[in-house]
């Protein structure tokens, strides 16, 4: 199992404070130690998602992004590093497009239906598939075959994993999430986003990310292959789970959200490409 990067622990401690009382200088200092992190924060802050500012300093970027978004970038960046460039089973850009897409859709949906913590939804959306990275590094060749089998059979990835590995990215992701001390809510999302009824903690969040994940996979922000699936989202068990705590979900215009995702697609692709591609190229 990939070891916990040095930055994760001190950052988690800083962020344990109340959001208004977080020591910004310390966060800026922590980010500044790592040139890749600096570059990613700047690129994200200057991307269309944040209105194309002309931020040049780490401090400016951290302020523009907000502390929670910085946390998400740090974790995303650390996770990206656990896979050596030549070991990727799913293409790295495809993977991060799916994760960022799911993060953005989760936070957007959270806002639409009055889920109280859209930034947590963003983080959970970004990290929900970490198990795919674990599977990639721990059993590279076998995992490449697993993905190929899913692609050829046009079946869901976790079904293919269960068939060929005997476990899914939910299980392996949960182990990493525990070691890296992710919050209990995010851990629940990682472990149960394909089996929502089994989750005990953070049920609305698990349901929310499950629906966002499905939506992304159905709007070309999936794993880069055709999944032959038809989904009645409003008839999904996650929908009823989420409805219990967010009654506004019943009034959400799902077709419109779908078109919004399509509209945001070019942006998501360009952000992921800008944030991750230079690093991928530099690493080669």
């Amino acid at each position: 199992m990939p070891s916990v990067p040095a930055i994760v622990q001190p950052l988690a401690e800083l962020l344990r404070e109340d959001p208004d009382r977080v020591n910004l200088d310390k966060v800026v200092e922590l980010v500044s130690y790592d040139s890749t992190l600096v570059a990613q924060c700047l690129r994200m802050a200057n991307s269309p998602l944040f209105g194309r500012r002309d931020t040049e300093t780490v401090r400016g970027a951290v302020l523009a992004l907000g502390i929670k978004r910085v946390e998400a970038i740090v974790l995303g960046c650390c996770l990206n590093r656990i896979v050596p460039p030549d070991k990727w089973a799913l293409d790295a850009l495809t993977f991060w497009r799916h994760c960022l897409g799911c993060a953005l859709v989760s936070s957007k949906m959270a806002r639409l239906i009055g889920y109280p913590d859209p930034e947590k939804a963003y983080l959970a959306g970004l990290l929900h598939d970490v198990g795919i990275l674990v599977n990639t590094v721990t059993c590279t060749e076998e995992y490449r075959r697993t993905i190929e089998q899913a692609r050829r059979g046009r079946i869901r990835l976790h079904e293919s994993e269960q068939q060929s590995l005997g476990f899914t990215h939910c299980r392996s992701g949960a182990i990493l999430a525990e070691q890296w001390k992710f919050s209990l809510d995010v851990r629940a999302v990682i472990e149960f986003h394909h089996d929502v009824v089994k989750s005990v903690t953070a049920r609305p969040l698990v349901a929310l990310v499950h629906l966002s994940d499905l939506l992304c996979r159905l709007r070309e922000l999936g794993y880069g292959y055709y999944e032959a699936i038809g989904v009645d989202l409003a008839g999904d068990e996650a929908w009823s789970m989420l409805l219990e705590s967010c009654p506004a979900l019943a009034k959400m215009d799902l077709a419109r959200l779908t078109l919004d995702i399509d509209g945001a697609m070019d942006e998501i692709v360009s952000v992921v490409d800008a944030v991750f591609r230079p690093e991928a190229i530099a690493a080669k």
Partner: protein
């Protein structure tokens, strides 16, 4: 994801945009008026498309700013006529054959297998498809080719037919003739052109007998109760960019008919940016990769149970 009307999009993207300040909040208001009335939705990232369409109408009515044009759409006496003209601009160039490959892929790999399995179990090996608002025929001919291409595999042993209806007599005449130029055929492969079309003149092809024999053309007003009541037993209904011209009450009436016209387990497909939000809540919105459809669940379907 559907990427319709590429040429128009590209044209709009490359057109000088200094005169169209997309940050003008009036565009969002125009977007909402269009959505409310027609169900056609432009996400913020596609506002430039709407702005390009508005620009043409703004020139025509001599509106200097988006906000002035918004008045034309909302408070002027001619607002209904103007809205119709804008909708015409928005849907212009929408039809060519094989415009929604992802919809066809969903039909082939997800939807039809399920429908065929359910119907075969009941002993019906017949499929009825309806193109409601077929305009000049691109859609029904596409569907005819799509089904014929499956007759040796998925549809082996099945019979199928297509009903193509429109209100406009001129469109129907053109649809029956089935003569198409390069624009309509831009996404039709050489193989399919050779197989299903014959040469009409130097620049145009004409649909062959195999296609034509599969399609029955008819004039139908979708709000005409007496006619709509008789169109039963449909498996798939396609109705693209037609409902946009109806007011809410008529839309609801048409949807009621469509629901009754469809067999349980059947699907209704709308134009790619159209939504039935607050128009009808009996249909289930179904997601497929890059496509959505409205589903009439079979009797006894319980939400939350995976099929």
């Amino acid at each position: 994801m559907n990427r319709p009307i590429e040429t128009v999009e590209t044209a709009a993207k490359t057109a000088p945009t200094e005169t169209q300040d997309l940050r003008d909040p009036s565009y969002l208001k125009i977007r909402d008026v269009v959505y409310q009335i027609s169900g056609i939705y432009h996400p913020e990232e596609k506002l430039y498309l709407l702005a390009a369409r508005c620009a043409r109408r703004m020139t025509a009515v001599k509106a200097a700013t988006p906000s002035e044009y918004l008045d034309h759409l909302t408070v002027r006496g001619s607002r209904e006529a103007e809205l119709r003209l804008l909708l015409n601009e928005i849907t212009i160039g929408e039809t060519y054959m094989f415009r929604s490959p992802q919809q066809l892929e969903a039909l082939r790999s997800v939807i039809l297998p399920q429908i065929l399995q359910d119907k075969a179990a009941l002993g019906f090996k017949r499929l009825h498809v309806w193109s409601a608002g077929c305009s000049t025929g691109e859609e029904p001919y596409t569907l005819a080719m799509f089904l014929l291409e499956l007759k040796e595999t998925l549809l082996c042993g099945w019979t199928f037919d297509i009903l193509a209806t429109d209100l406009n007599d001129n469109s129907l005449v053109a649809a029956k003739a089935g003569i198409y130029g390069e624009y309509a055929l831009r996404s039709t492969s050489d193989l399919l052109r050779r197989k299903y079309f014959k040469t009409y003149d130097q620049n145009r092809l004409q649909a062959g007998e195999e296609l034509k024999s599969l399609i029955r053309f008819d004039r139908v007003n979708l709000t005409d109760d007496s006619k709509m009541t008789f169109l039963k037993g449909m498996d798939l209904i396609f109705c693209c960019n037609v409902l946009i011209y109806f007011d809410l009450a008529s839309k609801r009436k048409v949807m009621q008919h469509f629901y009754a016209n469809l067999l349980p387990g059947g699907y209704l497909f709308l134009g790619h940016a159209e939504s039935l939000y607050q128009v009808d809540d009996r249909f289930h919105l179904m997601h497929f990769p890059g496509a959505i459809g409205y589903w009439k669940p079979p009797v006894g379907y319980v939400a939350g149970v995976k099929r």
